[in-house]
Every structure is written in C-alpha cells, then in structure tokens.
C-alpha cells in the first residue's frame, strides 16, 4: 500500500475522534442553545422545544444519534436557525468561502511568485527594496486593518469598488486583495529566498555553461526548484485562506462560512459548530494530502 492510501484511510478515524471530542467538549461549556433572554411561554412549550431536538434524551443516545446521522451525511438541524439544516447552511455558504479563498490564493501565487522572482533577480537593487518594503507591509498589517483601509480609500473615497456585499466581480476585488495580500507577501519572501539559494547552486552554472539563454535558465532551472518551499507551503496556506477568511467575510459582509465560525459557538448552535469542525477537519486533511502529492510531483526526490 502506498503511504498516501494509508493517510486517506486514516481520515474517517480522525473525523470520528474530532466529532467525539467536540461533541462532549461543547456540552461541557456553560449555557445552552435554549438559554434565551425571554423565558419560554411555559414549561410545556420549553419541553416541546427540547423534545423536538431530542434534548430530553440521555447524552449517550444523543451522541449515538448524531454519529448515525453524520454517517448518512446528515449533519442535523441548526439549533439557532430554525428553518435551516446544517447541510443547508454549509451548502449555501461553503461555495462562497471557497471562491473567496481560491481567488485570494490566486492573488497570493500570482502576485507573490513574480514579486519574489523579481526581487531575487534584482537583488540589492531598487526593485528588491521595493519588493521587500511591500512584503514587510503585507505581512505586518493585519487583515482587520487592511480591509477597512482598502474600503476607505478604494470604496468610500475613490468609489472604485463597492464597500461590501457579494454578487458581482466588483464586490470580490477588495476582499480578495485583503485576504490575498498577506499571503502574497509571504509567498514573495519564500520565493526570493528560494531563488537566491538556487541561483548559487552548481546546476545553474552548468546550465549557463551549456549556453542557455538567461531567460531559459531562470524559467527552467531556477524557478521550478525555488518553488519547492512555496509549494510545501500551499497546503497550510490554502487552509489558512479558507479558514482565516472570517475576518474578511465579516468586514465585507460576505455570505460565507465565516459568520458561523464564531457565532455558532456564541449561540451554542452545537450542530452547526460540529458541522463546521467536521467540514474543516476534512478539508485540512485533503489539502495537506494534496500539497504533499503536489510536492512529490514537482520534486521527485521527495518521498523516494
């Protein structure tokens, strides 16, 4: 059996551990989904509500019921949003978060890689310093500052882009930049370091000695090798982009999963919380696997 197959086989086990842990940990937190500012109309009304969500059953039976449903792909009803199931909420919001994360990933790679290459090739020159300055800013300015700043300048002052909401490409520009720039800066730094190291290595000298044009040397012999650290970082980066978008989603009022990250805990929406935890555990596993496989494909030395 190949090692990646073992990892795939391990995923369900891991999900089970995550589900079990989060199920019981959440129940240990004080306050519950049915603690509300207004007391229910009567004890009977309260009992009816709890019975509807099987809250009146012993915990082990609730746990069994939950696992059974999850195995059938049913994450249960949301305890806060009374007209939505967790599947329904995730189905509506996950594509939005994936789209935003995907586009930000595009910005991170599409901006970070060329910037890193440029900085390495013009090392010590103005381009290098400019790139270094940009990446420093990108890494240091947090998303919750950058977002409102972009909104203020590009949205409210210049009126180039809408300040929030989701629905057209114009809406996507500011949140994508906000989310992507930080990662672009990190990618640029990784790329620059990688390039500088590779440029010094003997195989580059050989390539030059063979009489290859400098462009060919850079594109065929330097960039691919320098990309290795960037690629090994793509898995965690994608994970960060997809999970870390809740601040951006909140600032730009984007209907992604971000709102549920925090709110489902604050409202003790246990089923929604569990749904999020399970979904993102699965996503992280798959992404890590993906980046490992990608790395192996780019650099045959890995894993052989």
């Amino acid at each position: 059996m190949r090692p990646w197959m073992a990892r795939v086989a391990l995923i369900p086990v891991l999900l089970w551990v995550v589900a079990t842990l989060s199920f019981f940990l959440l129940r240990a937190v004080p306050g519950g989904p049915f603690d509300r500012e207004r007391a229910p109309a009567s004890r009977e009304v309260e009992a009816a509500l709890k019975a509807r969500y099987h809250w009146d059953e012993p915990l082990w039976r609730q746990y069994g019921r939950y696992l059974g449903n999850v195995m059938h792909g049913d994450l249960g009803p949301s305890l806060k949003y009374r007209n939505h199931s967790v599947n329904d909420l995730l189905g509506q919001t996950v594509p939005v978060s994936l789209a935003l994360g995907g586009m930000a990933f595009g910005v991170a790679i599409g901006l970070g890689v060329p910037l890193g290459v440029l900085a390495a090739l013009k090392r010590g020159g103005w381009a290098d310093y400019a790139a270094a300055g940009l990446t420093l800013v990108g890494v240091c300015v947090p998303v919750f500052v950058l977002g409102p700043l972009l909104v203020l300048v590009l949205g409210l002052w210049l009126e180039w882009f809408p300040v929030a909401l989701w629905g057209s490409w114009q809406n996507a520009v500011l949140p994508t930049l906000t989310l992507g720039l930080y990662f672009a800066a990190r990618v640029a730094r990784w790329m620059r370091e990688g390039m500088i190291e590779v440029l010094r290595s003997p195989h580059v000298q050989t390539a030059r000695a063979k009489g290859l044009s400098e462009t060919a040397v850079i594109l065929r012999h330097v960039v691919p090798v320098a990309l290795v650290p960037v690629i090994s970082y793509t898995g965690p980066m994608l994970a960060d982009l997809l999970t870390g978008s809740f601040v951006v989603e909140n600032v730009f009022q984007i209907p992604g999963t971000g709102a549920f990250f925090i709110n489902s805990f604050f409202s003790r929406d246990y089923t929604m919380m569990m749904g999020m935890v399970l979904f993102y555990s699965l996503l992280l596993q798959v992404l890590n696997l993906f980046s490992d496989l990608l790395l192996r494909w780019v650099d045959p030395r890995v894993g052989s």
């Binding site: 306050g31 009992a47 599409g110 490409w169 065929r220 990309l227």
Partner: protein, 562 residues
C-alpha cells in the same frame, strides 16, 4: 446567469490574467519543464471566470439593513425584533401598526366591534384579503392559526401573548389539551369572535403583533415546521418572498394580492443581513443601503455623533436597562442593602458619560410614557440615606460587607463602562468593593436564570405599549423574574389591574405595583430608558416615522424618486 460572448470578453478584459488559461499554463509549465499542464490552467481560469461572471443583482428599489441573519421568520416562532421585521413585510395580522405612532389600525380586518365590558371582540375580515398565491384568507384560518400558536407542541415562545384570550393560559400551560377551547371562533367566513379573560386595553396592538398573524394552513399542513420554506410562500403582507440567501439578503417583491397594494410603491425590496455595524454604516454612507432599521447595527461608539446627523433619527424607545439583585443570597437578601445600592447610584452619570444618546435616567422598570402611564419614580439618588440604610443592615461605612460581583454580558463598551461606573459609585458612597464579572452572552443568561450572581445587568424591551409587558416579568412564577423575589402582594396587584375595566384606575394599580417593586422591595432597580435610532435619508426614503414601538411597517415605506 451565463453571460453572452460580448459580456465574456468584457469580463476577461476586466479581470485580467486570472481568467486567461494561457497565463496559468505558462506558470505551470515553468514549474515542470516539458510537461503541458494546460488542463490545470484551464480549470483554474474557468474557476476565476465562473466567479467573476455571476451576474450582479440589480439594485432593489429600497435596500434595508436589518442586522444579523434572522433565526427564523416564522411569525409564530420568532422572538427577535429584527426577525419580526422581515415577517411583518410578508404577513399581516387582523390589525396592523400605524406607521406614525405605532398604534393599531385596520389590517386584514377592516373593522371591529368591542363589547361594553371590553371582553368580546368581533373582527370583520376583508372579503378581498388573499394570500399571494390567490386563496382567500378566511376566519377559520385565523382561528386555526391561533390554536396552532397556543399548542405547546408548536413551541412558540410568544404563546404567552395569548394568555389574555379565554383558556389561552391553560392551553399553553398544558392544563387544557384541546386547543379548540381557545376563546376564538369563526362565526362565518369573514367574522372572528374573540373572548378575553380580562379587559385588555392593548389587545388591538397584540392583534397586530407577529404571533397573531394568520399563517397559510395548507402550506403548514404540507410542510409542518418548515412551512416558511414553501415555494412559493403564501404571503398576506405587502411583500412576497423572492429569495433568501443566508447571511446575505432577503429579496422581496410587491404582493399584488395585498388588500392595500395600491399604497405599496416599491416593486422590489432587499433586506440585508449581516452583523458588522461598521460595514452597515459604510453601505449606508455610500448609498448602497437606504435604511438601517436596527440600532444594534449602528456602531455604538459613533451613536452620539451620528444622532446629530439629519439622516439619523433618534426616539424614545420602549426598552429599559436595569439591575437585578439576587434576593436569595447574602448580602442582597436584605431589602435595605438593595435599597442602599439603588440609592447610591447616580444614573445621570451613566447616561451623560457613557450612553450619551439622550437616554432618560430612571430607577423604575417601565420606561416613562409607556401606554400613557407615569411610572413610579423609584428610589432617587440619595447617598446619605443609602449609607444609613447600609448601616442599619449591619454594614456601617461598608465595614464587613462581603466582596460582591457585578455581572454583565460582554459585547458592548456601554455595559462594561457602566459596570466600572457602578463600581466606583458604590465604593465612593458606600465603601463597598465590587468586582466586575463579564460573561459571554449564553453563559450570562444561564447564570442569571440559575440565580448564580450577586447583582447583574438586565434589560427588557416591551412587546406592546403598556406597563404590563414590563411589570409581569417580576411575577412570582414568571420565567423572566430571575431575581428569586416572590411577593404575593405584587402578584395580586397585577391580577387586580388585569381585571380592572377602568383604564385610569388600572394604571393606578399598576403604579402601586411598580412602587412596591422598585421602591419598597427592590429586587430590581432601573438605570435608564432606551433610545432608539434608525438611519434613513429623508430625501430618499419616505413613509417611516420614529415611534416608541420602533414599528416601521413596510406598506407605507417608499423610495422617493429624485
């Protein structure tokens, strides 16, 4: 959804490299020389293209920001005011709220008759009242809806609003199993007769509230609890539901079947849902939102500054902040200690330095002016008497006073700063040391219900414009009491007030009850009455007026064309 070729080209031009397969292909070719990865490039560019080609929604005639995603818009189940706002765009009761002052005016019922003793109401439904799907709305459906609301299995938190109708309380409490015993009957297709337990001066306002909305029986019988997701959803209000995207927006279209459709001028309305106040403000400032209808979605720290703008409207609101004392625990077991604390608080310091929106300081529980009522003034600020009371209770100059905690919910700068202010006033005037105990919302609620606190922040928003909606929280058996205080005298006074047919005498009894509550026993002491705030540019949006109930019905709301 799929743009034409011309649009596609325009999109590629606009969005640049990400939509271009060649760009991705070159990038990947450089990764792995000699291998063509066009397929991957194609996929990525296609992804970028799909994302960018979602056709933008056309702007609605009127765009409202309503705060967080509603928990539900089912009128029988919802409890939040913001949730109710959406429901009231889609459904209507026998009466509806007058947009200028929040009182009841004819809705699905064109008129009504009230018996001399105030106990029997005859409502005459409009024969032309219809669901948006075409079926007529008849008296039987109204009665059926109300019976469903009081049935405990429906789990309607607001079923208590039916306590004023004969047998309502017994059915909700599970003492009467048969919901058809509810004192409401259909005399013919268009007449509903209601028998009340007590003369209830605010019953016409209740009939306009969400839980009294008739709901479409056929949809409910088909879909049960989830009837609100029916497509199409039968609506009785000025608008019907076009789409509902979670955490984004409700899109509504004018309901041509609405009996008063002639008044409704906006063809489409968007109700946005989001929980970031700064974002809501940005959307309002750049004109993408015409109306911010909820104070909670206006940045609190900017409130006092925003309130001076011509497009922000401030009004006295039917809500009150107060402090609950845990009367089951030392030291607040002793009414003298509770009174001492209540008298050591200079409430105007809180409203002048912290809330700063023109809130009225008040030691009562009922906001002034509720239903023409003048609440008991409560215990006024009097540090000398407070010190004397504390000494009488055995703590002269605060000596020997146990360490106590003031509990409040986090999430607002105001609650925290109020805690600090209370802390300093009690130290200054009574020599008492108070620790602050901030709790996250659900923990706060659980601790308050479990009486696991010393004294705690509380607040209440009235359901109807009458002191009863505040005062009945502190009945001995009320789930909203949460102080451990029980007094049979108080319960009897409220009972007597409910049975009193003369409005002035009734208010007099209520005042007596409130005096017992906030002057004598003091399980609770008021801090200040709430101020409401909404944002709407009067040059752009018409048909809404500030009112105590914060009711802004959709039928009158309109966009003023430039």
């Amino acid at each position: 959804m799929i743009p034409s070729l011309v649009q596609q080209n325009a999109l590629v031009r606009k969005t640049g490299v990400f939509c271009c397969p060649g760009w991705w292909a070159r990038l990947f070719e450089s990764l792995r020389p000699g291998l063509s990865v066009r397929a991957l490039g194609l996929v990525l560019s296609l992804g970028a293209w799909v994302l960018t080609s979602c056709s933008p929604l056309e702007r609605a005639d009127l765009v409202l920001h309503n705060g967080p995603e509603p928990e539900t818009i089912d009128p029988q189940i919802l409890t939040g005011q913001a949730d109710g706002r959406i429901a009231s765009a889609l459904f209507e009761g026998l009466t509806r709220f007058n947009p200028t002052n929040g009182t009841a005016m004819p809705g699905l019922a064109s008129h009504w008759e009230i018996s001399g003793d105030g106990l029997t109401y005859l409502f005459f439904l409009r024969p032309e009242a219809r669901w948006s799907t075409g079926e007529s709305i008849e008296a039987k459906e109204v009665v059926w809806s109300w019976r469903r609301a009081v049935t405990p299995a429906t789990a309607a938190d607001y079923a208590s609003q039916f306590f004023c109708i004969r047998n309502g309380r017994a059915i909700v409490n599970g003492e009467l199993r048969d919901a058809s015993q509810l004192g409401a009957e259909a005399l013919d297709a268009h007449t509903v007769r209601v028998h009340l337990e007590n003369p209830t001066p605010y019953f016409l306002e209740l009939a306009a509230s969400r839980v009294f909305f008739p709901i479409p029986r056929r949809a409910v019988e088909r879909l049960g609890d989830q009837w609100i997701r029916a497509e199409p959803l039968p609506c009785s209000g000025p608008y019907q539901l076009l789409s509902w995207r979670v955490n984004d927006r409700f899109r509504l279209r004018r309901n041509p079947q609405y009996w008063d459709a002639a008044q409704v001028t906006a063809e489409r309305i968007d109700i946005l849902c989001g929980d970031n106040p700064s974002t809501a403000l940005n959307l309002f400032l750049n004109g993408e939102v015409d109306l911010i209808s909820d104070r909670k979605i206006i940045p609190g720290e900017l409130g006092p500054e925003l309130a001076t703008r011509p497009d922000f409207h401030r009004f006295d609101y039917l809500g009150q902040d107060f402090i609950r004392f845990n009367t089951t625990r030392k030291p607040f077991q002793d009414a003298r200690v509770r009174r001492a604390v209540a008298m050591a608080l200079d409430r105007s310091r809180i409203t002048a330095r912290i809330t700063r929106m023109g809130e009225r300081p008040s030691a009562a529980v009922t906001p002034a002016g509720t239903g023409g009522y003048h609440p008991s003034a409560g215990l006024s600020y009097d540090p000398a008497t407070a010190r004397r009371l504390l000494a009488e209770a055995g703590y002269p100059e605060g000596r020997g006073f146990p360490a106590i905690e003031y509990t409040f919910n986090v999430g607002s700068r105001i609650y925290e700063q109020t805690g600090v202010e209370i802390q300093s006033m009690l130290r200054e005037h009574l020599g008492i040391r108070v620790e602050l105990r901030p709790l996250e919302w659900k923990t706060y609620l659980a601790e308050m219900s479990a009486l696991n606190y010393d004294f705690i922040r509380g607040s209440w928003v009235g359901d109807y414009d009458d002191p009863m909606t505040f005062l009945d929280c502190f009945l001995s058996d009320s789930g909203n009491n949460r102080t451990g205080w029980k007094d049979i005298r108080y319960d009897r006074l409220l009972q007597a007030a409910a049975a009193e047919a003369d409005p002035q005498r009734r208010l007099g009894i209520l005042r007596e009850a409130e005096t017992l509550l906030v002057v004598e026993a003091v399980p609770v002491t008021g801090l200040y009455s709430h101020v409401g705030l909404y944002a709407a540019d009067p040059r752009k949006v018409g048909g809404i007026w500030p009112n105590r109930m914060d009711e802004h019905p959709f039928f009158s709301m309109r966009r003023i064309r430039p």
